[in-house]
Amino acid sequence: MTGDQASIIHVNVTNFAASVATSRDPSLADKAFAIAREGSARRIVIAPSRRAMEEGIHAGMPVATALRMVPTLSLISPDASACAKAESAMFEIASRYSPTIQHDSGGHMYLDVAGTTRLFGPPVDCAVRIRNEIHNLLGMEPAVAVASNKLVAKIGTRAIRPSGITQVREGDEELFLARQDMALLPGVGPTIGRLLAVAGFSDIGQLASLDDMQVEALLGKRGLALRNAARGWDTSVVDPTHLGARTIHKRVDFSEPAGELEALRAAMISAAEDAGLDMRKELLACTAVHITLFWADGATSEGKQLSSHPLVLDAEVLEASWKAMQQAMRRRVRIRAFTLSLQRLLPAKREPDLFTPPGPTREERLQSAVDATRLRFGPATLTHAAAVFRV
C-alpha cells in the first residue's frame, strides 16, 4: 500500500494485563480468566482474557458479577513487573521504526513515522511489521491503526479490536468514522452516550453532520469540541515523553507579589480548572498534584498531594491542589508566582465524558454551563467565585 500521507500509528494491546499473563503462560490462551486484585472489599475486573470477553466480561465489572456470569472464571493477580517488562519490550520494538513515540501505559503507543518511508517503506507496511514483531517476540496480538492523526488512529484500533490492522487514508477520515459506533469516539462516556442515544444518535457520522447551532442545542457549546472530534479533527502531536513522566503544567505570575490568602486561592482555582480541562481533553487522570511557590525574596517551597485513586473531575483536582498549596505555605512572605502540575498521569480507567452535558442535577447543569462558557469565551471569562480576588 503506498501513496498515503497518514503517518501516525496507534498500537493497542487490548486488556493488556490479561494479554501479558497469556504471553507468559500460553496454556491460558483458551481459558476464561480475569486479572483482579486480591483482598479489596469491592474487587473489580482489571482486564478480562479474550475468552472471558466473549462471555461478556469487561474491565471495570465487579468480580462478584463476573463470577455469577461465568462461575468457572479464574482470577489472576496483576503482575506489575511482567507488565512493565512487556511495556518496555514494546517500546524497544517501536523504537526501531521511529524516534517519535508516545508510550502511554496499558499497552498503548503512538508512533509518528513521517519521513521514514525510504528506510522502512510506507507507514502501513511499517505498522504491519511492528504488529508482527510484537506477536513473534512477545506473544501478544495488538490492534494497530494507521491514520493522519492520533484521534482517528485511536478510533481505528477501537473499531477492529481485539486484534488486527487497519489504515485510514488521509482524506477518508470522515468516511471511515461515519458508520462507527458512537461509543468509540473518545470523550463519549456514560453521560454523553446516554444523551446521544436518547436523541437517536448511534453513529459518529450523525454527530459529525451537525452544524454549530444544532450541536449547541443538543450538547451546549462544549459539544463543539466533541463534534469536531467526530469529524476526525485532532491537532495534538505525538508526545515522546513517557506518560508517567508527563505533566500538565500551569504557572501563575502575580503582577504584584500576593499576600492575601483569598487572592492566592483564587489564582490556584483558576489554574487547577485550566489544568483539569487539559487533562480531560486527553482522556487522562492523575494521581499527584504538585505546587511550587516562588516567594518574593527568591526562595521556593513545594507541596505535593498523592492520591490512591485517579483524580478526574475539577472538584477532585481542586481539593488536592489546595492541600498541596497549604503544605507549601510555610512562610509569612509575599508570593510572586506559583506553578501547579498534575503528575503521574494515566489513562482514565473508564471513558470519561469530555464535559458534563446539561443533566438533571444542579451540579451537572452548573458544571456544563461553566465548561461551555469557558470553552466558548476562554478560561478567564468564568471561574470559581473565590477566583475573582485574583489580582
Binding site: R158, A159, I160, G164, I165, Q167, D181
Partner: protein
C-alpha cells in the same frame, strides 16, 4: 500457525498460453496445468454463469489436489432481485455442495459492489444470504467503505464469516486496508495497484499490474500477520493480465517458504 495457500483468481485465460501454460495447451487442459502450480484457485466464472454441480465435480476430478474457492453468482451480490434471490441461492448451494462433500471447498466469496451501501435493507439481505449459505465457509468483500466499521466486524465474528482483506489501488473512498480475522478462515484478494485504469476500463486493463519485490515482501508480512489469528489463509492474486498473477503468486510462495504443491497442502 495457519496453513497458507496461494493461488490466482481464475485460471482460464487464453493469454496465459505462453507466459504460464506451454504453447499449444488447449483450454481443456488449463486446469491440469494450473494444478501443478498452485494448491488452490478462485473460480470467477460462477459470477457470470450459475455453476452446476456436474461441472464443478468434473473440475475436481480434473485436478484433485486443488482447493476451490468460488465466487457467488451476480444475482446474489450485484443484481439482487428480492423476489427470486432465494431460488438463486438454492441453485448455487446445490451446485457447490458436492465440492464441500469432497472436502475441496475453500470458501464461497461474496463480493459486493460499491453500490451495495450500508443501509438497513442491505444489512438484512446480507444476514439472510449468509444464513442461506451458512453451511459453507463464507468470505465477504465489500467495495463500499461504509461497511468497514466495528458493527460489521462484530456481526461477521458472530456468524464466523471472513472479511476479505484487500490490496487494491489507493483511491479516494475506496475501502480501507483492513486485516482483521473474523473467522478461522482468512481470505486475501490482491487486485493490483493500477490507479490509472481502475475506473472506466475493462477488467483486463484494471488488473494489469505486476507487484514489485518490495511490495510482495510487504504483502508477505500481511499474510504472516493474518496467519496468527486464522487456521487457514487463502491468498488470491487477481492481477491476471499476461499471467502477472502467476508470477506474483509464485514469488509470494517462495517468500513465505511454502512447500511443493500437492494433495498434502490441503
Amino acid at each position: 500457525m495457519a496453513r497458507i495457500l496461494i493461488g490466482t483468481s481464475g485460471y482460464s485465460y487464453t493469454e496465459w498460453v505462453g507466459p504460464v501454460y506451454p504453447e499449444g495447451t488447449k483450454a481443456g487442459e488449463y486446469l491440469d496445468r494450473y494444478g501443478t502450480l498452485f494448491p488452490t484457485v478462485e473460480l470467477n466464472f460462477s459470477y457470470y454463469r450459475m455453476p452446476e454441480a456436474e461441472q464443478l465435480l468434473a473440475m475436481h476430478c480434473q485436478s484433485e489436489s486443488l482447493l476451490f474457492s468460488i465466487k457467488a453468482h451476480e444475482s446474489l451480490t450485484h443484481t439482487i432481485d428480492t423476489a427470486v434471490w432465494r431460488n438463486a441461492a438454492a441453485t448455487f448451494r446445490s451446485a457447490v455442495s458436492p465440492l464441500q462433500e469432497k472436502g475441496v471447498l475453500g470458501a464461497v466469496l461474496l463480493q459486493f459492489p460499491y453500490s451495495f451501501h450500508y443501509d438497513p435493507d442491505r444489512r438484512r439481505y446480507l444476514d439472510a444470504l449468509v444464513r442461506s449459505l451458512g453451511n459453507f465457509p463464507l468470505a465477504v468483500e465489500f467495495r463500499n467503505g461504509q461497511w468497514y466499521n466495528n458493527r460489521t466486524l462484530e456481526a461477521l465474528r458472530e456468524r464466523k464469516v471472513s472479511l476479505v482483506s484487500l490490496d487494491m489501488p489507493e483511491l479516494q473512498s475506496s475501502p480501507p486496508m483492513m486485516d482483521v480475522a473474523t473467522s478461522p478462515l482468512a481470505y486475501i484478494r490482491l487486485h493490483g495497484r493500477n490507479k490509472e485504469t481502475w475506473w472506466g476500463s475493462d477488467s483486463a486493463a484494471r488488473y494489469d499490474y505486476l507487484y514489485s519485490e518490495k511490495e510482495l515482501a510487504a504483502i508477505a508480512e500481511r499474510v504472516r500477520g493474518m496467519a496468527v489469528a486464522a487456521q487457514l489463509v487463502l491468498v488470491y492474486f487477481n492481477n491476471h493480465r499476461r499471467g502477472q498473477a502467476v508470477r506474483n503468486a509464485m514469488a509470494l510462495q517462495k517468500l513465505l517458504a511454502l512447500g511443493e504443491v500437492g494433495p498434502h497442502d490441503r
